[in-house]
Symmetry: C2
């Protein structure tokens, strides 16, 4: 970004071949330099897209209508423009650009709309599934830094759907409050573990303009089954990430492109009753060994 | 457009460097080919713009908020997304792409929101200014085709602001109904003429998100002063166009980029009382000689 950049020479009259320059040259002298840069890039790509598409007047008006309806679908509980950003891969792209990490560090993925701050803090080994519904799951592992040093007291904040594909906040009165959410703190050797149930895939809200667009694009609205995590420790770059189940039918076609190769876990089925009893379960369970690797905080 | 084009090979997992291909490869097999083409081009340019801008999470959310508010500003009387399209030059670009005409034909420009169908039909020479406010104006000329043949019975539909920069529909009860609107029909020699008043510049609605954006871009909301026309005749491409006054302070910075060089007219001041009396005026007036040239209708 060049703060000293001055406005372009004025090109007064519109013509198809100079359209980008005409529009961008209209900006004033005292525009915020970042806004100037963003506006210039957006106008460049917007005009290039229009010239490539050559929309009819009717197609242009259909676009106006879609953008309007997407805005009007939003309310206190529903953000249709974030959904649009999600299904076009823009949310993941912005997330990736802002979370480029050194090799070996756990990759980021999108936060999503179901995170709730101040979930209950539990001792290691606690079962976050409060209604005993679903296939039992144990997740265990270690939090380290990229140099291999274990991190004691790292915060492991987890949230996930139940066995039916719903978060607690989507089913008040059906699921117990704070079901399938919890905050754990790693032990002196950096380890953590907790009990839960296997999560299920779920659809993003598909009853609005974005759902209709997905349908017209021959796509479905389902997110691949996953557990969400925010893992943090002082001095380290906070990681917002997922663990994906490997057997979900939507693993390779997550509606919001949230899956990264390195975030697909191995879910081992443990049928041995002695192993089950050792961790306080009386039935077969799924076991996931999963370490988180944190990079140093950026200055 | 290639109807036979099949879906791209599936690239399941998101990565920053392949983001465009991952998103576009997700489309189904049986997608409308035009929708496929439009979606592919939009995703390409959208991802390219995001990669060039590298928005922070906060900037991305500011964009989500702007798009949402723009949609929520729309109602039965207000179309904020058309305004956004207008001030970014997109409306003019779409208009230009759809109205490429042979050399010599009158250029098109945007329709705008103030056209009213079925305006009163008048005899040639009628004064469309019903309240006698403003500086008198006479517009006269000929409608021809690009081969130079005069067109009898061509419809010349005109509308404009008053001397204060308002259309009749913006000031019900202040201006007479159908003030400064009228439909004329050319004589056997293709000529038309009518009386009116000199129009004034006016602002597009600037109290919403688009007005705030204009302010932040160091731009003003004013349209250069003009008369609007729709000129049509059977067998010819209908022309939606303007005549601009040459002395408007906003001529070179029309907020919606509607001005084309060939649409700026010469407004001659006639002070001769004999000339004024000859056309039924008792004061000095502005005279515009303006011919419209129609191209054959496209098949």
């Amino acid at each position: 970004m060049n703060n000293a950049k001055s406005a372009l020479p004025k090109l007064p009259y519109f013509a198809e071949d100079t359209s980008e320059a005409v529009v961008n040259s209209r900006m004033g002298e005292n525009v915020n330099p970042r806004l100037r840069q963003v506006a210039e890039v957006l106008v460049k790509h917007l005009h290039a897209a229009v010239k490539e598409i050559e929309p009819t007047h009717e197609e242009w008006f259909a676009a106006i209508k879609f953008l309007t309806e997407t805005g009007q679908m939003c309310n206190e509980w529903r953000q249709e423009y974030i959904l649009l950003s999600d299904i076009l891969g823009v949310s993941m792209l912005v997330d990736s650009i802002n979370h480029r990490r050194p090799s070996g560090a756990t990759p980021n993925t999108i936060l999503g709309p179901f995170y709730v701050e101040n979930a209950p803090k539990y001792e290691l080994g606690h079962n976050i599934c409060l209604d005993q519904k679903g296939e039992p799951l144990v997740v265990r592992g270690q939090v380290r830094d990229i140099a291999g040093r274990v991190i004691e007291g790292a915060k492991v904040d987890v949230w996930q759907t139940n066995d039916d594909g719903f978060y607690d906040v989507q089913q008040p009165g059906v699921q117990p409050e704070a079901n399938l959410r919890g905050v754990f703190s790693t032990a002196a050797d950096g380890t953590y573990w907790f009990k839960s149930v296997k999560p299920r895939f779920y659809p993003i809200p598909a009853d609005g303009p974005v759902g209709k667009l997905l349908l017209n694009l021959g796509r479905h609205p389902n997110r691949a089954a996953h557990l969400h995590f925010i893992v943090s420790a002082p001095g380290y770059d906070t990681v917002i990430t997922h663990i994906f189940t490997p057997d979900c039918p939507y693993l390779e076609e997550d509606a919001v492109f949230g899956v990264k190769q390195d975030l697909v876990a191995d879910f081992k089925k443990i049928d041995d009753p002695i192993e089950a009893e050792a961790i306080g379960l009386n039935e077969p369970f799924w076991l996931v060994d999963w370490d988180f690797v944190l990079a140093p905080q950026k200055s």
